[in-house]
Each structure stands twice: as structure tokens, then as C-alpha cells.
Symmetry: C2
Subunit: 161 residues, 2 copies
């Protein structure tokens, strides 16, 4: 069984089953500030269930390729958006659900200045910066309950360029 995953570019179409790509591709929805600013309006399908929205900052150690993928997780109670604050690309690993477990993972590389929003319940790896500092803002659910399921992958997958 092939346990090697090749990284694909992140496009809205390819990522649609997992979440939203947050970028300024195409024309803005409206111009504001006397024409000096384009607003790409309301681009994430946010869902916080019985909780509320919060903004947290994450600072993660940068990883290198090939990357050994040993864990996937999902948040059954809410969406989770990742907004890199550095202009550097991050690796995004996701999987479709197959009867309560993750299917074969897929790996995407965010372009500089892109963000993503994982829809509620999407299986994903921990967000993986490829450059230091691995700094990003996270918009996710604040509320009671664990809101976390984890699946360990044995043998692991290997993510390659």
C-alpha cells in the first residue's frame, strides 16, 4: 500500500470538500475606503455550534519535507480557520470521512498570503509551517466539551514535494 502523499497546490475547487480557501483571487466584492481597499466579503463558512467565535494565535515549530504524518484530528463542534501572519506558505493535510474514520489523506501547500477555513468536522493534520516563525491566527469555537477526535496513523504516511 502506497503511503506517500504528494503535495498539490491549494485551489478553491480542489479544497471545496474540506473547507474554504481565503485569498484575494479574482475581483473584490466591493471597494471601500474611497476606492483604496478591496473587500473580499465573508469568505468562510463559519460554524461554532453551541459555542462562540474566538481568535487565538498559534506559534508552531517549522517542519521540513518529507514530513511524516502520524496523526489526523477533527473538531466535531466547529469550523477552524487558519490565517498565517507571516506571508510564508504552510502545508495543509486533510482527509474525507469514511464512516467515522479518515480516508486517504491529501496534502496542499498554501500560497503566500492564503488562509483556509476547515469546515466543521473535517479531518486534518496539525497545521504545518514550512518556514519559521510558524505563526498564524486561528478563528475557532470557544465553548464547553472536548471538540476533538484524534486518529493515529500506523504506519504513518509520508508527505513529499
Amino acid at each position: 500500500m502506497n503511503r506517500e502523499i504528494t503535495i498539490q497546490p491549494l485551489t478553491a475547487e480542489a479544497f471545496a470538500p474540506f473547507g474554504d480557501v481565503l485569498d484575494t483571487e479574482g475581483a473584490p466584492d466591493k471597494m471601500i475606503n474611497a476606492g483604496l481597499c478591496g473587500r473580499y466579503h465573508d469568505r468562510a463558512r463559519l460554524d461554532f455550534g453551541e459555542g462562540r467565535a474566538g481568535i487565538s494565535l498559534f506559534e508552531a515549530q517549522a517542519r521540513s519535507l518529507p514530513y511524516e504524518l502520524t496523526l489526523l484530528e477533527r473538531h466535531p463542534e466547529g469550523s477552524q480557520a487558519f490565517l498565517p501572519l507571516t506571508g510564508n506558505p504552510f502545508l495543509v493535510i486533510v482527509a474525507l470521512d469514511e464512516g467515522g474514520s479518515p480516508g486517504t489523506p491529501r496534502a496542499f501547500c498554501m500560497a503566500p498570503h492564503q488562509g483556509i477555513n476547515l469546515h466543521r468536522g473535517t479531518w486534518h493534520g496539525v497545521l504545518t509551517p514550512l518556514f519559521s516563525p510558524g505563526l498564524f491566527a486561528v478563528v475557532d469555537r470557544i465553548g464547553p466539551g472536548a471538540n476533538l477526535e484524534e486518529v493515529f496513523l500506523d504506519p504513518p504516511y509520508t508527505v513529499v514535494p
Copy 2:
């Protein structure tokens, strides 16, 4: 009357009357992802009134200093967070409310990798990137109503380094 405003560094203490500074100053609230990622948890006082949270992207033209400040605005129905996606600093201009009008403005320069969250109703200038691309994510209220008050400043203020 002095119409010149000198830019100050952005610190949580100085900015407290206006909003939250979103950065990784100090220790993380918890370590996640097997110790490889620090989570600075729930750092913004979000308030969307009768609306809901949304994530939009803004792409603004970069400005240079001295900057002529002709307009302040506020959003009476919700908070508004600004998360630069570039690692470059932005200029933030805010003012206390004095009986329904903005008082003397203050100007802050965000350090690289900082974000801010303006509390509901805080008078502010349009967010002013100092480098191109002037790209940032905005977490603000999606909902009915104008949610905007504007005050034109005549004569303008001049923001200087």
C-alpha cells in the same frame, strides 16, 4: 491647535482603551500538538451583537508617511479584528469617544506579526498598510444595518513617524 500626531509603538497597555493586541508576547496559554505548538488562547473580545462572525480579506493600497488623516469611523454594532497576512507593519489610528464624536486621534504602529481587535464602537481610521501588499484578514460582524458612522476631519490631522 496642533494637528500633528506622532506614531507610538503598539502595546497591550496603551491600546487597552481601544481594543486588544493580538500577538505572541509572553508565554502561551497551553502547548498543543505534542509540544510543538503554543496556543495563545482566545485573545480578542469579540462582540457581534445581533449579527454573526465573518472572515473577509481586505487588500488596501499602501500609504506613506506623513499620512493625512481625514476620516474616522466606527462600527456601533460590532467588534472588528485586523490580522495582517504579510508580516509587515500597519498603522493603526484610534480615538476615544467624547460625547458621540472622536477625541484627539492616536496613532500606533503594529510590529510585524501583530494583529489587533477593535472593540465595538471604537473610533478608528481606515487600516493603513505601510508596505505593499496591504493584505489582511478581517473578523467582523455580518448582519443587517449600516453598522457605520463616519466623521470627516477638517482640517485633517497629519500622522508623522
